[in-house]
Each structure stands twice: as C-alpha cells, then as structure tokens.
C-alpha cells in the first residue's frame, strides 16, 4: 500500500497546488485586494507616523524602510490565511469530503493549497517591496537582505496558511474567514510593527517581546533597515521563531485533519 501510495503523493500535491493557483489566475482581479491592502497600509502608516524616526532609539531615519518588511509580511500573511478561507469553502461545498476518500495520505491534501498560498503571497510581497523602493525605501541589506526578507515572507505565509487551515478544519464554515484574517492582523501588529522594542510602552512591550513575529520582522528588516545589517545574530532568532510557529500550527492543522470525518 505504502509503495503504491508514495508515487501518488507528489502528483496529487502538484495538482492541488495548480488548482489553488487557478483560483487567482482565472478570476480577474482576484489578487487585487490582497495586494492593495498592504500597499495602502504601507503608504498610510508612513504618512501618519513618519516623524517617529526622530525619536532617540529609532535605528533608521527612513520610516518607509522600517515599514516595508512589515507590509510585505502582512501581504504574505493575508495570502496565507486565504488558504483557510478557500479550504472552508471546499468543506462547505462538500468537495473536501470527496478528497478525503482519495487513496492518499491526508496531509498531502493540505500541501498543494499551502504551496498555492505561498506562491500567491509572492505577488503582494514583491509589489509592496517595489512600491516601497519607488517611494523612498532603502535596500542596504543587498542580496542577502532580500533573501532574508523573502524567507521571512514565505515562512510567515506558511504559518498563516496553517493557522487558516486549522480554523477551517475546526469551524468548517467560510464565516470563520474574519477570524483567520484577524489572527494574522493581530500577530503582525502585536509586535515591533510601528516602533522598535525600546520605544514600545506598557503591555505592548511585553507582548511584542514574546511574540515570535517580532523576530520574523527582525529577519525581514535586514533587507531595508540600515541599523539591522544582515548577520547571523539578526537571522537565527527569526528562523527559530518561524520553526516554532510552523511546528505548533502544523501540529494543530494535523490534529484538525485527523478529526475530519469522525
């Protein structure tokens, strides 16, 4: 059984990946809201809070450079969470039930949609980066910094996808969509989103210190923030944070998957 099942794994995952990509390729403008929202946040936050760089302790004098990685992660996270909304729709419409009886291991059914989410996330992340660079963000981290930024985006998108999948498998309705999106929103903003940790006050300082996304942001900011140069010291906390998030959220998704159909 396992000998025959193994060769089917990759084609099934690839077919489901292609299907999830078709959802955006065949629907005109499907990626537009997910791309525009982080761009709007990028420009809006820079316009509102741009003067914060004048505070002692701010590592850069370009607020745009500070916010670009945040908006890239936000765009990638929303693209990941959309995986959950799509899965919830498939569950509601009965399509996922039919997939469950297919002769493949259940986790394979999630690989394709999550890969699809990761592929989709590259669009908002890249558009945000290009818009940011066009309106004044810097790129002092060079190629290494860019690699760190994209690793952070892909990892965070996967974590958001697993979170969305867990929510979809738990609630089994598209009405859980706002919960998936707001989970990402909270994770991103309860971090060093607006200011570095030394300038945070009150409860947010403690929460941001414990929030793994703070370290993922540090990983991503190696690309654009002058005070956070590409180095192992700025990289490993982000990678550990991503690994932790993927392990926990992946475990929850597997748990939800095991409960399906019981």
């Amino acid at each position: 059984m396992s000998v025959r099942a193994a060769p089917a794994t990759l084609p099934v995952a690839l077919a489901l990946w292609r299907r999830s990509l078709n959802e955006v390729l065949r629907v005109r403008g499907a990626l537009l809201p997910a791309t525009i929202a982080p761009v709007v946040f990028l420009l809006g936050m820079t316009g509102q809070f741009g003067r914060l760089t004048g505070l002692d302790g701010f590592p850069t004098d370009s607020y745009m450079s500070w916010v670009v990685p945040l908006s890239c992660l936000q765009g990638a996270g929303f693209a990941g969470a959309a995986t959950g909304s799509n899965l919830a729709r498939d569950i509601e419409q009965g399509w996922f039930d039919r997939l469950l009886v297919a002769p493949v291991a259940r986790p394979v059914l999630l690989v394709g949609p999550i890969l699809g989410g990761v592929t989709r996330s590259l669009v908002p992340a890249t558009v945000v980066l290009l818009v940011g660079l066009a309106v004044g963000a810097e790129l002092p981290g060079g190629a290494l910094g860019l690699v760190a930024l994209y690793v952070a985006c892909v990892g965070f998108c996967t974590a958001a996808g697993l979170w969305g999948v867990y929510m979809a498998l738990t609630f089994r309705t598209q009405q859980a969509g706002p919960l998936m999106q707001q989970g990402v929103f909270l994770a991103v903003f309860l971090s060093t989103a607006y200011t570095p940790e030394v300038l945070l006050r009150g409860w947010l300082a403690s929460v941001a210190h414990l929030n793994p996304v703070t370290y993922v942001l540090e990983l991503a900011r190696q690309a654009t923030v002058r005070g956070i140069e590409p180095s192992f010291a700025h990289t490993w906390p982000g990678l550990v944070a991503l690994a932790g998030m993927l392990a926990v959220l992946g475990g929850l998704a597997m748990l939800g998957l095991r409960r399906m159909g019981r």
Binding site: A37, G47, L52, P178, L186, F189
Partner: protein, 262 residues
Amino acid sequence: MIAAAAREGRVVAALGRRALSVQFRRAQLLMPTFVLPLMLLAVIASGTSAAQGLRGFPDIASYLAFVLPGTIIQGALLAGLTSGTALAADVEFGFFDRLLAAPVRRTSLVIGRQAGTLGLSALQTVFFLAIAYAFGARYPGGVGGMLATVGLAAITAVGIGGIAGAIALRTGSLSLLQSIFPFVFVLLFTAPAFFPRELLVPALRDASVYNPLTYVVEAVRGLLAGDAALGDPWLGLAAATGLAVATTVLATLALRERLRTL
C-alpha cells in the same frame, strides 16, 4: 400630505430597523466594524505613544484619548461600507427588486438604508467611547462633547454609506463592495487620524486639506478634549453634513439610473 409623510417615515424606520437587525443577527458582520478598529486602537495607542516626546506634539492629558477619534472615524467608515455591502447583497439576491415593487417612494429605500447606517454608527461610537474610558481615556469635553462626537460619527457613516450605496446600486456586485475594503483606509490615512496634522509627512499634510475626514477627525478630537484649538466642531459638522448630503444624492441618482435600465 402629513399622512403620506408619516407613511414614508414608517417605511424608513422599518428599513432602518431591518438593516440593523441584519447586522446584529450575523455576528461575523460585526467583527470588522466593532472589533477591528479597537484592535488597531490598542496597537497604535501602545505602539506609538512615544510620539508624545516629539517636538511640536500638542500637550495632551491622554494619548489614548488623542488617537481615539481616528478609531471612531474608522468605525464610521466601516459602518458605511458594511451598509453598502448589505445593500449589494440585497440587490444580488433579489430582495431589493421586491422592495422596488412596493408602493413606497423610491428615495425612502435609500434613506431607510442610511437610517440603519446612522443607528449602527451611533451604537458603535458609544461602544468605542466606553471601552476607551475603561482603559483610561478621559473626555474633558464632557457629556456634550461625547454626544456631539456620536452625532458627527453617525453623519460621517451616512456619508460613506451613501458612496457605498451608490456603488452597490450601480453595480449590484457584492464581491466588488467586499473588495473596496482597502480603499476605506486610504480615506482614513489621508486624514490626521492618529497624528497631529502638523506632524504628518509633508505630502500627506498637503493632501489632507482636501479630505473632509480631516475636519471631522479634528472636530472629534476638539470635542472630546474640550479644546477647540485641536479642532473646530463647526467645521467638522459642515464637512460631515456636506459629505452625507452629497453622497445620499449620489445614491438616489444611482437608484434612478438602476430603475431606468431595469
């Protein structure tokens, strides 16, 4: 004449009540309008409070109370957009066509929807004021300032509801209304929603002069603080009322156009 006016009044009240009950019976619709602005308030109030140390920042008693007007106006924007989305759903699923066959004035259908928006925004503003008060915000402007704030926010919500309603009536597309969500934040971020106008980046400061929400948000700030130097309430009222009248006319024209092409 009086009997006809009373009958139309009953129609408007019934439609307004229906618009509100649709919102409250589907809790997921309330998440974006009630919870999202509060989450953003919590994060901004803690994440950017160090800004009080910037030169030129007004001398204020509570930073939370200073950024609260941005949240209130954000709530008003979302209430207006939610109203347009619900109208688009009515158009798409055929309920609006059945209303058109009723022996009532067509304008009452638009005004009834706007009455629901007004009620939703008023409830929302009271909720925001109460939650912020519980977390330490104080309103030296007193009860009068708070009541005027509720009124200004409600009129603003009607203004945004008018735009959203016009789009809903022109297109009848629920998905289009759902996808214009990010543009709401363009209106918010091009006003001094969370920062003093003098401290916005120059391009945004110049643009904010043309955004009516600039005057509304500053008026709310002045009303809650009991300090007209922070914002002129009459200017805010003029901006909100102008917006509401103009967009309600726009929605009525969109309804006429819809009837002409049916």
